[in-house]
């Protein structure tokens, strides 16, 4: 196969091939960047929250209107927990102060030393008198769960009391003590300065996301504290149901909780799946938009290639006929058009790679997006080559089918 005739034909009529090459280049630049962003967002949205079998877990918030004292609130929490445990299909119930992925929670500074003026890291705090490890099925990496003797009862309106044990996530441990293999028994301070509260690490969980589930490493900086707190207007319980019974149990748990109170209460239920959906809604929307644009992009580029190739075939009917009459086989004609297209596409791909890198550079500098890995450029280039050959195949086949007799006719 000689490239020379193809090249000289291309050089004689540059506009059409140039247009196709520009289309290929633009497609590749947008496609590679768009798919990379989609992949990054999907990876973020599919991170584990640390909760095992998320679809079986939900939260139930209850708000009482009357203000009761410390003791009455303690009794009420115990009564409500018992009422929830009695619902059939409930595997485990824990009181908690917040939920992962719920987008609303408390964050506090932790430090390694009382002398520190600024905290080492900001972490989110889950308080519970029950076992969140059990209810959420958190994976204990080392150490143990809290013991009943470690759970103080604290009235947040009057008391400065605090628990002395803490369970941290492995990621938080690695941030605080990067050089240690084990974080058990280490001391960490809640807050800074002389009044910072001393906590001893008794356990490390493999993972537990914060309510915000940020896109940075901070998403896994969580601590669990054992305490029964009063003085809040809201109580939040989190429940794990038998597999597949979430919907029924959610309704029955709400009824049970309402019935357990003498006065009217306000309740709010939300499953962890809903929280996850709400948290990543915007990311999913962007991913959908980018995928749609990418698909349209390929369709339009393919239609452009088909259109131009058809035009060239029509324009060259006579020449094709002459070549066939002079002994060229159908496969030669087919190969001519496919090779011509490959040359054009390749030029487009080369320009496209440069354009993709430039576009990525712009996105990195202006919109704080991650850098594009080379794999996406390769995959995009491969895709466009394949698309080019597939798109040109139809017109090329029609060209190959032109009968040699055409050459003898005048038009």
């Amino acid at each position: 196969m000689q490239l020379h005739p193809i090249l000289s034909a291309l050089m004689r009529n540059k506009t059409g091939p140039l247009l196709v090459a520009v289309q290929v280049a633009l497609s590749l630049a947008i496609l590679a960047n768009a798919l990379h962003i989609v992949q990054v967002r999907q990876a973020v949205a599919s991170r584990s929250s640390g909760i095992e079998h998320e679809t079986d877990v939900f939260s139930l918030q209850i708000r009482h209107l009357d203000h009761r004292d410390h003791q009455a609130q303690l009794n009420e929490q115990r009564r409500e927990t018992a009422a929830l445990r009695a619902v059939s299909g409930v595997q485990s119930v824990s009181y908690t102060t917040q939920m992962p992925l719920s987008r609303s929670g408390n964050y506090s500074g932790l430090s390694l030393d009382r002398k520190q003026v600024t905290s080492s890291v900001s972490a989110t705090t889950y308080y519970s008198p029950d076992s969140l490890i059990h209810t959420w099925g958190l994976q204990l990496h080392e150490g143990r769960d809290f013991q009943p003797g470690e759970v103080p009862e604290i009235d947040t309106n009057t008391s400065q009391d605090y628990p002395h044990s803490v369970i941290i996530t492995r990621q938080l441990g690695a941030k605080l003590w990067p050089d240690s293999g084990s974080y058990l028994g280490k001391t960490v301070y809640y807050g800074t300065g002389a009044s910072a509260k001393e906590l001893r690490v008794v356990g490390v969980v493999a993972r537990l996301q914060t309510p915000g589930a940020q896109i940075t490493e901070q998403a896994d900086f969580s601590i669990l504290l054992p305490a029964r707190l009063t003085g809040e207007d809201l109580s939040t319980y989190t429940l794990r149901t038998e597999p597949g019974q979430l919907d029924r149990v959610m309704k029955e748990a709400e009824t049970a909780l309402r019935n357990s109170s003498a006065t009217p209460v306000i309740t709010r239920l939300q499953s962890v799946s809903e929280m996850r959906r709400d948290r990543y809604r915007a990311d999913q929307a962007l991913a959908w938009m980018l995928v749609t644009v990418s698909v349209l992009l390929l369709l339009i580029t393919a239609s452009g290639i088909v259109g131009m190739a058809s035009l060239w075939v029509t324009q060259r009917r006579k020449q094709i006929g002459v070549r066939r009459a002079l002994g060229a086989r159908r496969s030669d004609i087919l190969r001519y058009f496919v090779t011509e297209n490959l040359l054009i596409t390749s030029a487009g791909v080369v320009a496209g790679v440069l354009l993709a890198l430039a576009l990525n550079q712009l996105l990195v500098s202006q919109l704080e997006l991650p850098r594009l890995p080379a794999g996406y450029l390769l995959a995009g280039a491969g895709l466009l080559w394949a698309l080019g050959v597939a798109a040109v195949y139809g017109p090329a086949w029609r060209a190959a089918s032109i009968s040699p007799a055409t050459a003898t006719r005048s038009t």
Partner: protein, 438 residues
């Protein structure tokens, strides 16, 4: 002549239906994608209160601890402490000022068929309603005297009022909130300000969240220790209890000034600086960070209300439009090149290049109009789809007249730009050569 060429253009649409359909579709898809993303960007970055956006100002004072601070650091929070908010409310420089924070309350309807429910509200001072030009359906806001006496009064949103009282005027009635009786002084009309610039901090959907359901006087809300609903930033330890929280340096209040004229901004800045200096003498604000003022536009910019994702979508959509244009150029070239014979005959019969150019340009305009129409439909569809994806975007994903006109203009312009090269090429046909080869 124009009419005739227009007719020819319409007729030529039918002559090569597959190619024409492809062109119109390409153009429509490109225009729709860019219009849909542009609409969102346009609404998001719009000025919500154009006639006074330069007179409404947010102060940012850094009251964080000196320890660990290096000059030039961003403040820990863009809200104010209770102490600063109440002090600034007493200023004499601004015509109006208000302090805001989100609250969550339990409403007990008088109607027995409605259960207790939670409502999301805002604690504000009496100036709030005038400052942000909140529309009233019934009654009005509370008075400055009621601010001072921390009276138990409430203003309801239209939605909440309709839920509780139907369409009737509830002004003057009493409503039980958090176990207290509150007198209703007014009901708002639907207040769809986009972006919800007065309240960007502390709502899950930021500037594009839901409307607040009720409004309480700031002092009343503090007096009843109403449950806060929003962000709070504290550094260091604070003593237990509500009073200690009020006395602390925790920041949780959003503050707004309204100037009588934008020229007074300098005076307000001076006031803010002298306030901070005065507080420094009391041992506060040791960071000595610059005190900042942001007007509405600067505030929206500073708070990054238009997310990077929206900009990204718009950029990519425009890249896509460029691709569609290149594609259309190619297709038009193909379409026109097969009509070289027609051009040859017309030229031989005396038509000038100019006339040929006109005819073909009108033909591409016809394609542009068709693409614009279809693009508009597609853009509506795309916006509906986008609105379904994200609750925050439902508020912004609606098209206005400006965007509608822009769609057509963009589409026709795109078609004409795309048609220039092919049209010019068509005009180059030499009549003699063309006729000879027939």
């Amino acid at each position: 002549m124009f009419q005739y060429y227009f007719m020819l253009g319409l007729r030529s649409l039918r002559r090569n239906p597959a190619l024409t359909a492809l062109m119109v579709l390409t153009l429509a898809v490109g225009v729709a994608a860019s219009i849909a993303t542009l609409t969102i960007l346009h609404v998001m970055s719009g000025d919500p209160i154009p006639h006074k956006s330069d007179r409404l100002l947010v102060p940012v004072i850094d009251n964080g601890p000196l320890a660990g601070y290096t000059a030039g650091d961003e403040p820990n929070d863009r809200q104010l402490s209770y102490r600063d908010a109440t002090n600034l409310l007493a200023n004499k420089v601004a015509g109006r000022s208000t302090a805001l924070y989100g609250i969550s309350v339990a409403v007990e309807p008088a109607r027995k068929d409605l259960p207790l429910f939670n409502a999301r509200g805002l604690a504000a001072t009496s100036d709030f309603f005038n400052m942000f030009e909140v529309p009233f359906r019934y009654g009005q806001g509370w008075s400055p005297a009621e601010d001072k006496s921390a009276a138990d009064v409430v203003v309801l949103s239209r939605k909440l009022a309709e839920k509780l009282y139907g369409d009737s005027d509830p002004v003057g009635q009493r409503l039980r909130i958090n176990g207290q009786q509150y007198q209703i002084t007014g009901v708002l009309d639907t207040w769809n300000v986009v972006p919800r610039f007065h309240r960007i901090i502390g709502t899950p959907d930021g500037a594009f969240g839901d409307e607040d359901e009720l409004y309480l006087p700031f002092a009343t809300s503090v007096r009843h220790e109403t449950q806060r609903n929003g962000n709070s930033s504290c550094s260091g330890d604070i003593a237990p209890g509500y009073q200690a929280y009020l006395d602390s340096e925790c920041t949780w209040i959003q503050f707004w000034f309204e100037l009588r004229s934008a020229r007074e901004r300098g005076a307000l800045q001076d006031y803010l600086n002298s306030y901070a200096t005065e507080q420094r003498k009391l041992g506060r604000m040791q960071r000595q960070a610059p005190n900042k003022l942001y007007d509405v536009r600067e505030w929206l910019d500073y708070m990054k209300v238009v997310g990077n994702d929206n900009k990204l979508s718009a950029w990519l959509a425009f890249g896509f439009l460029v691709l569609c244009l290149v594609n259309t150029i190619g297709l038009l070239l193909a379409k026109f090149s097969v009509r070289a014979a027609e051009v040859g005959i017309r030229r031989a019969l005396g038509a000038s290049r100019r006339e040929i150019f006109q005819q073909f340009l009108i033909e591409t305009t016809v394609i542009g109009l068709a693409g614009g129409l279809l693009g508009l439909l597609l853009a509506f569809g795309a916006l509906a789809l986008i609105a379904m994806q994200s609750k925050a975007l439902t508020v912004v994903a609606h098209m206005d007249w400006q965007m509608l006109l822009l769609t057509f203009a963009l589409s026709v312009l795109a078609a004409v730009v795309a048609g220039l090269l092919p049209t010019w090429r068509a005009c180059q046909t030499t009549p003699a050569l063309q006729l000879k080869s027939q």
